[in-house]
């Protein structure tokens, strides 16, 4: 499949999931793959009725880099990842366009971090992106670090050889107190 969206669900995310879907489906019709990290049967059925379900194996559940593992299993040539705390407000088509760069990856900075690093809640990538491979390599090397995924993004931020697209905050609006009416995605970290 050419284009699709992925998100990750764990037990307790049911309510957030419904809100995410409501917002997403108002503006988008791309197929969705829900990565199941231990949701109940009822939610599984619901997900299957809306899209496809990718179940994380029990062995993998303890790893610190589930998200990165899921990226490698994406059934799409071009994937948009959004965390469930994203309030999707517009058509996400431009994000696919943004992944059309040398290393096939588009991500924004974490505007709340004290040092420069990428924010892993929203990104787009093409199958085979070296960014994903490097992210995974970092996580494997640092698998004992519970924050390997996040630290991997910090590490990659300093890689001068990667040629990716930096997303403007329009695609990942992290500031809750002032919100642009033009943003495609608001983050709701409290949800």
């Amino acid at each position: 499949m050419e284009k699709g969206v992925m998100t990750l669900l764990k037990s307790g995310d049911e309510k957030t999931l419904k809100t995410w879907w409501e917002n997403y489906s108002k503006h988008n019709a791309y197929p969705v793959t829900f990565c199941d990290l231990g949701i109940d049967e009822k939610t599984k059925k619901w997900c299957a009725s809306k899209g496809s379900l990718l179940t994380v194996s029990k062995d993998a559940k303890n790893t610190a880099f589930l998200k990165v593992e899921m990226l490698l299993k994406s059934p799409y040539d071009k994937t948009i990842w959004t965390d469930l705390d994203c309030e999707i407000r517009k058509d996400l088509a431009p994000l696919y366009e943004m992944s059309e760069c040398k290393d096939g990856f588009a991500i924004s900075y974490d505007t709340k971090a004290s040092s420069m690093q990428y924010e892993g809640g929203v990104f787009a990538f093409k199958k085979g992106s070296p960014f994903v491979d490097k992210w995974r390599d970092y996580c494997i090397k640092n698998s004992s670090d519970a924050q390997a995924e996040q630290n991997g993004l910090k590490h990659l931020c300093n890689d001068p050889n990667l040629r990716i697209t930096i997303l403007s905050s329009t695609f990942n609006w992290q500031e809750a107190s002032i919100r642009s009416p033009h943003a495609a995605i608001y983050r709701n970290p409290s949800s």
Partner: protein, 248 residues
Amino acid sequence: MKKEEKKDQAPLLSWSEKGSGNGVVVAANGTQEWLLKWWWDHYSKKSDFPVTFFDLGMSKSARNFCESKGSVRSFTFPKGMIKTKEAISQKNIESWENTYPGDVWVGREQWFTKPFILLKSPYETTVWMDLDCEVLKPIDPLFDYANGGDGFSILQFHKDNANYYNTGVIVAKHGSKVPLKWAEQTQKRNEHHFGDETVLMEMLEHENLKITPHPLPYNCPTILPMHEDAVIRHYIGAQGKIQILRNL
């Protein structure tokens, strides 16, 4: 009453005084001033952000027109800054003259002004538009694309398995390092470059600049099919100008 032009005291290679608000900047010399009315007619139907027109050698009547629509500032390069034909390699002379159907040596004097004009913008966030851009819808969302990264947004697009950039529409935050470096490189290396865009491409290749591209609808070039959500149609090159003329 004739409007007095505010003199910009800032050196060529630095940002002028901190500006305010969002605004649009365009520029024209005597060759391109015929596009001013066409541009304004489309722009003003869809957007009302203040406009600053940079006078690169317009006629008196064109300048009067601009003064009736917004503010006008003059810009000229210091003599000899943009290298003339005599300083260019024979290989580049042949290549450039074959690439551009008009007078490339007059064209270069204007194309290279882009980063310098951005530095002189009176706005906090500036949208630069080439005059061959037809504004089809309100441009309000465009200003947000310079948020994040180095405060600088241009079009990045993919065609025939290659990535391209286009600077027909630019969004720049006051103080962004990109226009500053772009201007510096233009001053240092313009004899190696056809125009402003190749200077910027070279920089993007060699320096880790964090531009935040805007999507295709905000600069939909006529070399690509019309985008259904197009906000700005960019009539690129000689063919594009012919299309504009046909519709005048």
